[in-house]
Structure formats: structure tokens, C-alpha cells
Amino acid sequence: RASESEGEKEAIVADFHKKIKDAFEVFDHESNNTVDVREIGTIIRSLGCCPTEGELHDLIAEVEEEEPTGFIRYEKFLPVMTKVLLERKYRPIPEDVLLRAFEVLDTAKHGFLTKEELIKYMTEEGEPFSQEEMEEMLSAAIDPESNSINYKEYITMMVIDEN
């Protein structure tokens, strides 16, 4: 029994290693097993995890060199990321939780948020968006005629797109 699950675990870890390697290599432009630290967030998220900015910060601290070089080495990244995947940390937000979040912000219960409201919440609350992030979200989310976001439709569209 024990050896079976050991073997299983090894297979899972091996699979994780390959996935992590694939994701890492796509951003390893120099082909020297390093990536720019600014791409680590993208890599981690592309592997299906959803750390907050704060959690991401901590992860980066774990994989950085003692004297930060601006680059993250694969040798340091692999064990940390494997652990994250094994422990199923930073799970993605389920659709219904996301919907609830929008509903909370929609204090008037209209079923939509105005562009101004969305901008206000996203750039003033929580872990504020950068200008680029805000613009990108607006271009997909806002209906130009009503200048508002029907969040239920938006969520459905995003979920379909991801799958």
C-alpha cells in the first residue's frame, strides 16, 4: 500500500516538474535557466494558481537570490513551485464567489456596475490595479453604450473563454 502511493506521488511530482519546466522555459529567453523576476507572477498564474499580490511577493522572496539579481533561477524556482502545486495552494476563485464579490460592490443591486464605480473600486481598494491592468479590464468588460459592466454576463464570457 505504502509503496503504491509512494509511486503515485513520485509520478505526480514528475508530472508537476514537467509542467513547471514547460511554463518556465517559455519565458527563459536566454535559454540559460533564468527568467526575469517580473515574469514570475505570470508563470505561477499560468500554472493555475491565484496568489494575491502579497502572496506573490512572499513567493518571490523565497525564490530570489540572497542578493537579488533581477533574475530567478530555475533551480530555486522548481522546489518552491512544486510544493505550491502539491499543497494545492492559491486555488483559483470559484465562479460563484466571484459573482458574490461583484454583488457586494453593487450596493444598489442594479445587476451592473458603472465604469466609474469599477475604476474606483479596482484602483482604490484591495491591491489596486495598475493603469495598464485597469485599461485592459475595461476594454473587455465595459459595454460602450451603457458605460457599465453587466458582471454576470462578463463572468460567463470569461469562463467560456478560459475553457
Binding site: 514528475a14 508530472d15 514537467k18 509542467k19 514547460d22 511554463a23 522555459e25 517559455v26 519565458f27 536566454e30 535559454s31 540559460n32 533564468t34 507572477g41 505570470t42 508563470i43 505561477i44 498564474r45 499560468s46 494558481c49 491565484c50 496568489p51 494575491t52 499580490e53 483559483p92 476563485i93 464567489v97 466571484l98 458574490r100 464579490a101 461583484f102 457586494v104 460592490l105 450596493t107 473600486y121 479596482m122 481598494e125 484591495g126 491591491e127 489596486p128 490595479f129 491592468e133 485592459e136 479590464m137 476594454s139 473587455a140 470569461m158 473563454d161 478560459e162
Partner: protein, 649 residues
């Protein structure tokens, strides 16, 4: 009352904070996955691009093989050998003889150039090309003729000095993208005595306005020969043009005089300078360097003997003297034949130029063959340091590689890549950039991106479009090696279930296709998996197939012809020296024998003969190879506009 309302306020504030966090967190995850998908698509484009270039180099080996063995083929030189051997037929000093009897009709309403050219002509051309006018062949040939005269006078490396009030702008690959050149001139001004430019190669191929770009650059060069500098790129090579689009563009735009123009362009390429050196500090070349780069040698070689990267020097005495005979018999005037003892460069000289035009910098130390492209090498920071020190230089500016931001700096600031064709792979794939250099100041970078309506689409739509295109190209690659792939899969499918593990599938894909891609991440686009995570490997081929032109063509033959269609197309184009679109069956048969032997392709000869006989529709002993290739194309079952996006150029 007051307490509860303020605690409600605090609660709702807390809830708003939490809610915002949830949404931001979710969005960042979503956005990152979009970016990753975008990156994967770009990786696919790039690795296939490089694999194609490698195919090009393989073709070069084939030509060498063929040239070295031509006597054994037939008693007469096959047309292709003659074509490869022939040197410049247009060594005419006489403009009249050169231009022939071409006349510009009164009805022509395109731009009319006035020689000697002035800045008005540059303006005229820019305005005309913006309105999609085509310059008449007469003027094209005239520009080429005059440009060759001036280029011939230039040394292999142009030396320039900057001054505090004289900036130089360096631009990278343009690849026929007219909008990018226009954007650069708009932002940075037209070339003039006070506005120097260096264009670092790859003006042509891929984009649809290679002709216009070449004309604008050559005309500007003729007006400002001391301020407008052109370096040769790896696409300033007539054999590359056959595969990558420029040849086709010329023949389409100039149905009557296209061939003449092509020959002229072919010559112009060989006279383009190899590089530029600024302030004795900055070396500007198209590709890169190697550990054996010898600038002294490169300053002295006869650069015009470098015809094509696909024609390496053949080490064969007979061959060389035969070249000399043909050269001296076709020279119009005695003084124009080369005064050195050989018509070719030495192998060492040839390699030196290939290295300059094809190499890429990498993070790893050392110098090793550029296996992605098949030519030139990868050079590390230590190589850069060594060559720079040896020649008392400070920096290398090169192009050759598409970069997302239009430029890139590596090797500790000593190597700059500058790339000026925005949206190179697809809409939104990358920015373009140019550099401004000034005496004693750090280089300044300027970025831009040509915007079309689709650029304004939201990110997820742009990513989806690019992704679809990349996957389509990848699938076509897969179908062209279907037999080999299936063999590899079946080798691992011991129980013959039609399924193998993801790891086995990924391994097979990489080893057969020889593309280093993140197969696990791409899996969902390419193949079906079951609930256990095992891959149903045949599912990839369900909705894609190569259109079979006739019953006689079996799958392996169809695949082979499809896979090598670009190479075969190039060979045919070279064999078809009068550009009639026809070649004789005999020659094709001979070529096919050599080809299959060299490329180690196992095809039954008799089967091939049947196919070929069917192709000879008129039964006159000749094949229309354009029709031949049109017959082989990939059909995507669920594609509404079933066009093969990878037709041979």
C-alpha cells in the same frame, strides 16, 4: 443606533475591500494566463520560423552535394546547375543596353522619377506608395542600375562619425512592412544631410511591400549616399526571397519585367555593405559574430562574391574553372571580370559572412552552431567581450531577432538588438523600435506599433486570434509528418489501445517534429485526453488532412511532397530559368532521385512516376509546378475559409 450604523459602515467597508481583492485576484490570474497563451503562440511562430530557416540551410547542403556530383548525373549540365553556376549576365556598363526597350506609357499615372534624384523624388515615392501605387518597371530598373554603380564604390564597412549635433538613427528588420517605415519617417523625420540613418538589413520578404521599401531605401541612398547607410541582412539573398515572398511579390507586381528586376536585385544584394562602424566604437551588423570573426579579413574580402547563403563555395577544381569560363564568356567588357584567381570566396571567407548575417547572442558562454536556424552560431557574452576587445570596440548593434519591445539589450549592455517591424508574427505580437545615437551619449530607444482596427480589440480576442493562427500552423506541421508521428506513438502503445501517457506523447511530438515547445501546455489544443489523463493520439488528425490530388498518391508520398514543398518549389524556380512555370519531366525525375537520396526519403519510384505522368496534363513532357503545388494543400475540416496559410512562396 449610532454604534450599529458605524459598525455597519465598517463592515461594509471591510466587505468592499474583500470583494475588491477577490475580483483583482481573479482578474490578475486570468490576465496572466492570457499573457502566457500569447507567449506560447509567439514561441510557436518563432520556433517554426527558425525550423524553416534550418530547412533552408539543409537545402544549401543539397545544392552543394548536387554541384559536386553533377558530372555523375547526366552528360549535360542540368538546367539547375547551369543556373547556379551562371554569374552576372548584366555586367553591362551601358545603361541603354541594360534598360532595353522599356518605355513608360503616357497612360501611366504612377510616380515618375527624375534622374539625378533629389529629395523631391523621395517625397514623391512616399506619397505614391501610401496610395498603393506601383512604381513602373522602367524606374525600378533605373534605380537599381544607378544604385549598383554607387554601391560598388563602397567599402565592406562604412565608417561614420557622430558629433554633438549629428545624431544617427539605426533601424532594424523591416521585412516589407511599409507602414512601419512610414511611421519611422513620420516620427523621426525623412533622411537628409542632418538626419542620418542606418538600415540594418532584412528590408524584404514576408511583408507585402518589400518592393516599395527597397525602392524608398535605394532612392534615399542615391540622394544621400553619405547619410543613408544600408547593411546587408540574411534576407538580402535571392534564394531566401524564393521561399519567403519577395520573388513572388515582384513577379506579381511586374508581370512583364519581373525576371529582369529579380536579376538586378540579386546583384544589388551582393554589393550591399556588410556593416557599419560608428565612431570606431560601435559595430552594426545584421546578425552577430562568432569566436573566429576577423574584422580585418572582412574589410578586405570581395563581398560581391557572396551570392547566397545557399551557395557555399564548392571545393572542386574542375568546377571552379568551369565557373571562370562561364564568367569570362558572359562579361560584356574585359575589364569587368574579377581580377582574383577564383570566382568564389574561400570557405573560410564565406563562413565569416554567414556568421555576421545569421548569428544570435545567447546567455550561455562560448560559441556553438546555431542549430535553430541552421547557419551562423550562438555567441555568448565572453565571445562578445573577446571580439570587442580585440578590435577596440565598445558595442554591437544587431537585428535579426524579433523582440516583443522592439529592442533588447544583453551581454551586459554590450549587445543591442533592434527590430523595426511591429506586429511581425501577428497583430499585437510586438512593438517596433529604432535607436538614436549621439556623440558621447547613451543610446536612446524609440518604440512604436502600427495600429489597425484589430489592435483595438480587447486583449482576450487578440490573444485568441493569434493563438488560433499559431495552432493552425502547428497542426499543418504535424500533418506533414503524420506517418512518422504515428509510428512514434504506436511504438509506445504496447497494448494497442490508441492511447499513451501525456509524457510519452510530449516526448514523441518533440523528437519527431524537432520543435522545442511546451507540449503539455499546448496539449488541449492539439489532441483529446480521457479522464485518466491519457492521450488519444489519433484524435489530432481527425479534423485536418492533406488534400490528395489524385488516387495514385498514397499517404507517405503526399506527406513527403507536402513537407518538402517549399524546398521543391525553390529548386523548381531555380531550374525554371525563364520563369515559365514549366520544367521538363526528365529534369524533374533526375532532381527527385537526387533529392530523395540526399534527404533520405523512402518513396517508391514507380508510384512517383505515376503521379508525375498524371501531372503532365498536356502530355508534352513538361510539368506546371505551380499547379503541382496547388494540388497539395492542407484542409482544416472546421475552417470556414479553407485557405492554406502556408502555401509555398
Amino acid at each position: 443606533m449610532g454604534c450599529s450604523s458605524s459598525s455597519t459602515k465598517i463592515n461594509s467597508a471591510k466587505n468592499a475591500l474583500k470583494a475588491a481583492l477577490v475580483i483583482q485576484n481573479w482578474y490578475r490570474g486570468y490576465r496572466a494566463r492570457l499573457k502566457a497563451r500569447q507567449h506560447y503562440a509567439l514561441t510557436i511562430f518563432q520556433s517554426i520560423e527558425y525550423a524553416d530557416e534550418q530547412g533552408q540551410m539543409q537545402l544549401s547542403n543539397f545544392f552543394s552535394f548536387m554541384l559536386e556530383n553533377y558530372r555523375k548525373i547526366q552528360n549535360d549540365d542540368p538546367a539547375i546547375v547551369t543556373r547556379l553556376l551562371e554569374t552576372n549576365l548584366q555586367d553591362s556598363q551601358n545603361k541603354h543596353a541594360y534598360m532595353g526597350l522599356i518605355e513608360v506609357p503616357d497612360s501611366y499615372d504612377g510616380p515618375r522619377l527624375k534622374f539625378p534624384l533629389t529629395f523631391t523624388d523621395i517625397d514623391l515615392l512616399l506619397k505614391a506608395f501610401q496610395q498603393q501605387q506601383i512604381l513602373h518597371a522602367y524606374y525600378v530598373l533605373e534605380v537599381l542600375f544607378e544604385a549598383k554603380k554607387v554601391l560598388k564604390q563602397m567599402p565592406n564597412f562604412t565608417h561614420i562619425q557622430t558629433s554633438p549635433y549629428k545624431e544617427i538613427t539605426v533601424c532594424g528588420d523591416l521585412h516589407g512592412k511599409l507602414e512601419d517605415l512610414l511611421l519611422i519617417f513620420y516620427k523621426n523625420g525623412l533622411p537628409s544631410v542632418n538626419n542620418q540613418y542606418v538600415f540594418n538589413g532584412d528590408f524584404v520578404d514576408r511583408g507585402k511591400n518589400s518592393t516599395e521599401i527597397l525602392m524608398i531605401l535605394l532612392v534615399s541612398f542615391l540622394v544621400y549616399p553619405n547619410e543613408l547607410h544600408l547593411n546587408r541582412g540574411n534576407h538580402e539573398d535571392f534564394m531566401m526571397n524564393l521561399r519567403y515572398g519577395f520573388t513572388r511579390e515582384i513577379l506579381q507586381k511586374y508581370k512583364l519585367h519581373g525576371k529582369k528586376i529579380l536579376k538586378s536585385v540579386e546583384e544589388i544584394y551582393t554589393w550591399l555593405p556588410i556593416g557599419t562602424i560608428i565612431d570606431n566604437e560601435i559595430l552594426i551588423i545584421h546578425g552577430g559574430i562568432s569566436e573566429s570573426t576577423d574584422l580585418n579579413l572582412l574589410h578586405q574580402i570581395q563581398r560581391n562574391k557572396m551570392k547566397s547563403v545557399l551557395m557555399p563555395p564548392v571545393s572542386n577544381r574542375e568546377f571552379d574553372s568551369s565557373l571562370k569560363n562561364k564568367a569570362s564568356s558572359s562579361s560584356a567588357t574585359p575589364g569587368t571580370s574579377e581580377d582574383s584567381s577564383s570566382e568564389q570566396l574561400t570557405k573560410h571567407e564565406w563562413e565569416q559572412i554567414v556568421d555576421l548575417l545569421w548569428s544570435d547572442p545567447k546567455g550561455r558562454k562560448g560559441c556553438y552552431p546555431n542549430t535553430s536556424r541552421g547557419g551562423g552560431c550562438y555567441f555568448g557574452p565572453d565571445i562578445t567581450a573577446k571580439i570587442l576587445n580585440k578590435n577596440q570596440l565598445k558595442m554591437i548593434i544587431r537585428s535579426h531577432e524579433c523582440k516583443p519591445d522592439g529592442y533588447d539589450i544583453c551581454h551586459d549592455g554590450k549587445v543591442i538588438t533592434i527590430f523595426s517591424a511591429s506586429n511581425y508574427y501577428d497583430e499585437g505580437s510586438n512593438r517596433g523600435a529604432y535607436i538614436k545615437l549621439c556623440y558621447n551619449t547613451a543610446p536612446r530607444f524609440f518604440q512604436y506599433q502600427v495600429t489597425t482596427t484589430s489592435c483595438l480589440n480587447p486583449l482576450h480576442q487578440r490573444v485568441a486570434t493569434m493563438e488560433n493562427r499559431a495552432i493552425k500552423i502547428l497542426k499543418e506541421r504535424m500533418i506533414s509528418q503524420k506517418t512518422d508521428l504515428i509510428n512514434a506513438f504506436q511504438l509506445r502503445d504496447h497494448s494497442k489501445t490508441g492511447k499513451i501517457s501525456l509524457a510519452q506523447w510530449a516526448f514523441s511530438m518533440e523528437s519527431v517534429l524537432e520543435l522545442k515547445l511546451p507540449w503539455r501546455s499546448l496539449r488541449s489544443h492539439l489532441v483529446k485526453t480521457d479522464s485518466d489523463g491519457n492521450v488519444d493520439y489519433m484524435s489530432s488528425f481527425q479534423d485536418v488532412h492533406i488534400e490528395r490530388p489524385m488516387e495514385e498518391a498514397t499517404s507517405p508520398l503526399v506527406e513527403t511532397l507536402y513537407r518538402y514543398r517549399s524546398d521543391l518549389n525553390i529548386i523548381f524556380n531555380i531550374m525554371d530559368s525563364d520563369h515559365s512555370g514549366l520544367i521538363s519531366m526528365e529534369e524533374f525525375r533526375t532532381m527527385w532521385k537526387l533529392f530523395t537520396y540526399h534527404y533520405n526519403v523512402q518513396i517508391d519510384d514507380s508510384q512517383f512516376d505515376e503521379v508525375i505522368n498524371k501531372m503532365d496534363v498536356n502530355k508534352d513532357g513538361s510539368i506546371d509546378f505551380n499547379e503541382f503545388f496547388m494540388a497539395f494543400h492542407v484542409v482544416h475540416k472546421y475552417d470556414k475559409n479553407a485557405t492554406d496559410i502556408t502555401l509555398p512562396n
